[in-house]
């Protein structure tokens, strides 16, 4: 038996098919991954993401610490704003990608569950020399409510301490109250909110969402939605051997002059070299793209890092690490056959619409 979120029984009650996910018993789907995917693109769905790790950083030097720890710069945002960033090792490799919520007094970050131990150890190690405390909050639940109808369905269900403010949140901002963090962020390419709340309140809130017509959505659809949205998955699209420059995350690196963040020197060197880049692929024939398929281009070989059948497009899509400058037609090797694909700039889908551009 793996770890269970406060919603384990609710998943079983909703018909969830439970699988092991990095040591957690999580729902892969509740009947049809495709239907759940479409529910998020067209209406509203809720994901239990309580397996993710919530960590608070507080102390006199919390800002100095975060500006050292992270490749993006928390000084560029104000309290109430969220920031997407990589946490790098000295070689510029991505230890994890995370969301930072900047508070009046410190920071809250959400990191991946598969990297929890490594992340916490690294964050603790880096506190040396800073007046700062890093503390995990395993008692919290986390839900992502996503889709064009998500915020409307939620409006009457939030605690009064956050309801008013939550209704006016702009993208990538958040508010807090009564032990809840409500952020207009997500991992699907649709509008919606991510909510961090006390674990004991999660089952009633989950039920209220279902009663309001929000569909339960499993981790299977979470993966197809994020891939259509062109969003990276840690462990697939980047890891500790890959820099943000090779993972389509260059935009998250803040080169603020004089800021000595971990990995900066290595990234500056990498920036001057020829290095591969992460691009999108759209398969032009029938079939399904998967991770680790060989990509043959006129400038050398590459490899898919994530791939799936896109329910919205009705064809296969992938992220692939390719030699810089590759555009147009390439071939992907699937079971010893070479199938034609086009190089595109992700995202593939945003707000229910096809948006990718040919490169």
């Amino acid at each position: 038996m793996g770890n269970r979120t406060p919603l384990y029984d609710a998943h079983l009650a909703a018909g969830g098919k439970m699988v092991d996910f990095s040591g957690w018993d999580m729902p892969i789907h509740y009947g049809s991954q495709l239907d759940e995917h479409h529910a998020v693109r067209r209406n509203a769905g809720v994901f239990d993401v309580s397996h993710m790790t919530v960590v608070d950083i507080q102390g006199e030097q919390a800002t100095d610490y975060m500006r050292r720890l992270l490749a993006n710069d928390v000084a560029n945002v104000e309290a109430g704003q969220a920031l997407y960033t990589a946490m790098l090792n000295e070689d510029g490799g991505v230890i994890d990608d995370l969301i930072v919520y900047k508070r009046d007094n410190g920071y809250r970050v959400v990191v991946n569950c598969a990297t929890r131990e490594k992340d916490l150890a690294w964050m603790e190690e880096q506190t040396s020399g800073f007046d700062v405390v890093v503390r995990e909050h395993p008692d919290l639940a986390m839900l992502a409510v996503q889709g064009p109808e998500a915020r409307g369905r939620l409006a009457d269900l939030l605690p009064s301490a956050v309801a008013q403010h939550a209704s006016t949140l702009k993208p990538f901002t958040f508010c807090e109250g009564a032990g809840w963090t409500v952020a207009r962020t997500g991992y699907t390419g649709e509008d919606g909110l991510e909510l961090i709340l006390p674990g004991e309140q999660a089952p009633d809130f989950w039920q209220a969402l279902l009663d309001a017509g929000v569909e339960p959505v499993g981790l299977g659809a979470r993966d197809t939605l994020r891939l259509e949205a062109g969003l990276n998955l840690y462990g697939n699209d980047m890891d500790a051997t890959i820099t943000p420059l090779e993972a389509n995350m260059g935009w998250t690196v803040a080169w603020t002059e004089g800021r000595d963040f971990i990995g900066r020197a290595a990234l500056e060197r990498r920036r001057e070299e020829d290095h591969p880049v992460l691009r999108g692929l759209v398969l032009e024939s029938k079939g399904v793209l998967r991770p680790h398929q060989r990509v043959i281009t006129d400038q050398g070989e590459g490899e898919t890092t994530s791939g799936t059948f896109s329910p919205t497009l009705g064809q296969a899509i992938a992220l692939a690490r390719l030699p810089a400058g590759v555009t147009g037609e390439v071939e992907v090797e699937i079971r010893n056959k070479r199938l034609p694909a086009r190089v595109v700039k992700p995202p593939f889908v945003r707000n229910g619409k096809t948006v990718y551009k040919y490169l």
């Binding site: 789907h29 991954q33 399904v288």
Partner: protein
């Protein structure tokens, strides 16, 4: 609980086989197999004319989440494939023992039919898998 029709035979690799009066057989994947895979989005059947042997990988079914090989439950020549699956792979989910058939085989050795699992025996292997 998945459907396991009495009149069919099964392979441990979750294919079903239906014997027709003319001695040819239809092959598909079981209700249990389609349910485990989830929504199918692509089926790659063998080609008509292929000579296949028992246990050969002779095609692929892919769901949103994963690709899974299909194995030949009997030896013989592929004489037809279900062309409707090219545009409607979901037929395998909706009707695994009917409209979701994958290919038709002319068996090389009909004695192999008797070596396949009966519905009861297949049900037992599924129960064992769950233990």
């Amino acid at each position: 609980m998945s459907q396991i029709p009495e009149e069919l035979r099964y392979a441990t690799s979750h294919e079903w086989v239906r014997m027709e009066d003319d001695g040819n057989v239809y092959v598909g994947i079981s209700d249990h197999a389609q349910d485990s895979l989830g929504d199918l989005v692509f089926v790659e059947p063998p080609e008509v004319g292929d000579e296949i042997s028992t246990g050969d990988e002779c095609g692929v079914v892919e769901s949103v989440k994963a690709a899974s090989d299909i194995y030949a439950p009997m030896s013989g020549e592929v004489i037809a494939v279900n062309e409707n699956l090219e545009d409607s792979p979901e037929l395998v989910n909706q009707d695994p023992y009917g409209d979701g058939w994958i290919y038709q085989l002319k068996p090389a050795n009909k004695a192999e039919w008797d070596e396949l699992l009966s519905a009861d025996d297949y049900a037992t292997t599924l129960e064992d898998d769950e233990d």
